[in-house]
Symmetry: C2
Subunit: 371 residues, 2 copies
């Protein structure tokens, strides 16, 4: 049976059910259920139908007469959705509580400084979002906007000021920098104690070495691990495949998985038969930056899939003319995996939550508060 | 046919031939042939026999009447031996030539300082060997012997003196240090410009990051890569398995393989079915420190095997009561692999050659000479 997918991934979702309706199509729908849980094939079909009718968004509810729930184990099962929005919200709340306590204890809050050079629209949006996220949890944010044509010395002067400012515990340089600036030199100017991005080579070196600990774990890799932990995914002794070997995601996440005793393989653009290697994995983390790279036949049945990719693809139905998709072909993989992160709403929200977490960690370290 | 192995691996070897003799046993023998080459099954059997009679060590030659050469392709083929002694000698000669030239050009030689704390017999032997190797290629060696009970401050004072001495280009702290000394703190006191061991976390971090270069590549991993390069082993696009994830061998060698676009998996003590993963590899580098861990059935036919392990095992026939063996069960694996390093005489001699190479590199960098 050929099938059409009608999806409604934009609403806040906690669980997705697969129905095979009379309309000869599949509907993967988003339900706001009271608690996060996966649907087992043994659950009463009638109760699924009732849930659908009770919780489905209105436009889908109108289709209810055409829908006959079928056993979820028939042919396809559906992966648990690892909802980054929900987990990130929970973490932000935890951070917020800790910061309130810190303010009570020592009368001061953590501070995060962002330096933005030039006027790129996307960079401005990122900086604005970071600022909003800081304010929401009680982190004081500092912002310096420098003109596109500023010199390296000017940027470094501001970094130095923040380096020695005791109310600043984290310093971010918004990337990309204009071409005339030496990115490596500028990033290395941030003192390692305030490198909340965790990208300093000394941090990366410590991350790699047994018996050494980095001051900060880079945000996106830390977010991926946090999703695995909070979903109680076993890592020790498991086969993991990381797709992509970037400094900021692929390599550090591979090290983090290995540190927890997974057996890790890194797949990249020169890998022959990446699907063959990926198919051996119990845990797949894709950070390749290639839309729909990871297809259903790349995935071992029951694997856990974390999709770090955020790739714009043309979409005439979208007002912006494009939509964002992951590296993973969601529709195919959600039928093979036991759990999967959506895009958007998976790893994305975690990155900023981990930035807040690193800033808090830095402030606690500075003020010698226990973790 | 059940077979007995009579081997003579201690003599300097360039190639090993497999004969099936009338004695109903196999002999893997070592021949000193004029040049390094592998034996193809198509070579004249009679010429193999002649070579055997002409070049075999005397005790084996006495068996010649019982030997009938057979085609090497019958049943088993034998791996090319990657002879670390030969390659290391060649590298030391190249270094020697460069140092002579440097002395002519600028009137000064590279210098390597070694700090030895305590009186461990094995450490004293290592230090003596390093000193001899330095002298042989024209590197000036400096040595400080400190008593077992010296303080951290005393060790660091000597490191500082070497750090600022322009005639010293590399500083080694002989490990292990006595227990009362903080190893990490002492190693970190060596300036990164003279860290010829390449173990500083900043170096390791740079090794890991795309677009960054470490000042020095750690010696043993560098030696493994040099063996692959000089034996023209293709790395790009190949599957590689590294067994062991130590800071000093496993992890850095995995990064070096990946930097040359191999697809790398790291196998360790928590890996389930390590033989299954290893069997997929075109290149296997074992640095597990477990005698005879890697058996014949772990190896894909035609793989290249680098054995970093040096493990003492009881041997009543040896005057010392033990002999040194690798991680790899040589007798089994040499019939599956296309090339293999022996132990001893494989990676071992390369490590010290790479230390000399790093010291030369450091001196050239200090004197701003081109590489």
């Amino acid at each position: 049976m050929s099938s059409t997918i009608i999806s409604d991934f934009n609403s806040a979702t906690t669980v997705r059910l697969l129905f095979a309706p009379k309309l000869r199509c599949h509907i993967i729908c988003s339900l706001r259920l009271p608690s996060l849980r996966s649907i087992s094939p043994n659950r009463s079909l009638q109760s699924d139908r009732k849930n659908f009718l009770a919780f489905a968004p209105a436009p889908l509810r109108s289709l209810s007469n055409f829908i006959t729930p079928v056993a979820l184990s028939m042919g396809d099962s559906v992966a648990t959705v690892i909802d980054g929005k929900v987990v990130a919200k929970q973490i932000r709340e935890e951070i917020s509580v800790e910061i309130s306590r810190m303010k009570e204890q020592i009368g001061t809050a953590p501070g995060l400084a962002v330096i933005l050079v030039g006027a790129r629209k996307d960079s401005q949006t990122y900086v604005r979002n970071k600022k909003k996220a800081c304010e929401a949890v009680g982190i004081t944010s500092f912002e310096i906007n420098l003109p596109e044509d500023c010199t390296e010395e000017q940027v470094i002067k501001h970094i130095d000021t923040f380096n020695s400012d005791p109310s600043v515990h984290g310093i971010l340089i918004q990337l990309p920098l204009p071409r005339h600036l030496n990115e490596e030199k500028i990033l290395n100017a941030v003192t390692i104690e305030k490198d909340v991005d965790g990208f300093h080579p000394l941090n990366i070196g410590r991350l790699m070495m047994q018996g050494r600990k980095p001051l900060f774990v880079p945000c996106t890799p830390k977010g991926c691990m946090e999703l695995l932990h909070r979903h109680k995914v076993q890592i020790k002794g498991k086969r993991a495949v990381v797709i992509g070997r970037s400094n900021i995601v692929g390599m550090p996440v591979a090290l983090l998985l290995q540190e927890e005793n997974a057996t890790v393989s890194i797949v990249h653009s020169h890998t022959k038969n990446p699907e063959e290697i990926t198919r051996q994995a119990d845990i797949v983390i894709s950070a390749a930056g290639v839309a729909n790279l990871v297809r259903g036949n790349w995935i071992k049945s029951g694997a856990v899939v974390i999709d770090v990719g955020i790739n714009p693809v043309d979409d005439s139905e979208n007002a912006r003319g494009y939509k964002l998709v992951g590296d993973v072909c969601y529709e195919e993989v959600c039928k093979k995996a036991s759990a999967i992160t959506p895009v958007p709403g998976g790893v994305g929200p975690m990155t900023i939550a981990m930035l807040l977490s690193n800033t808090l960690l830095s402030a606690k370290r500075f003020h010698k508060l226990s973790n």
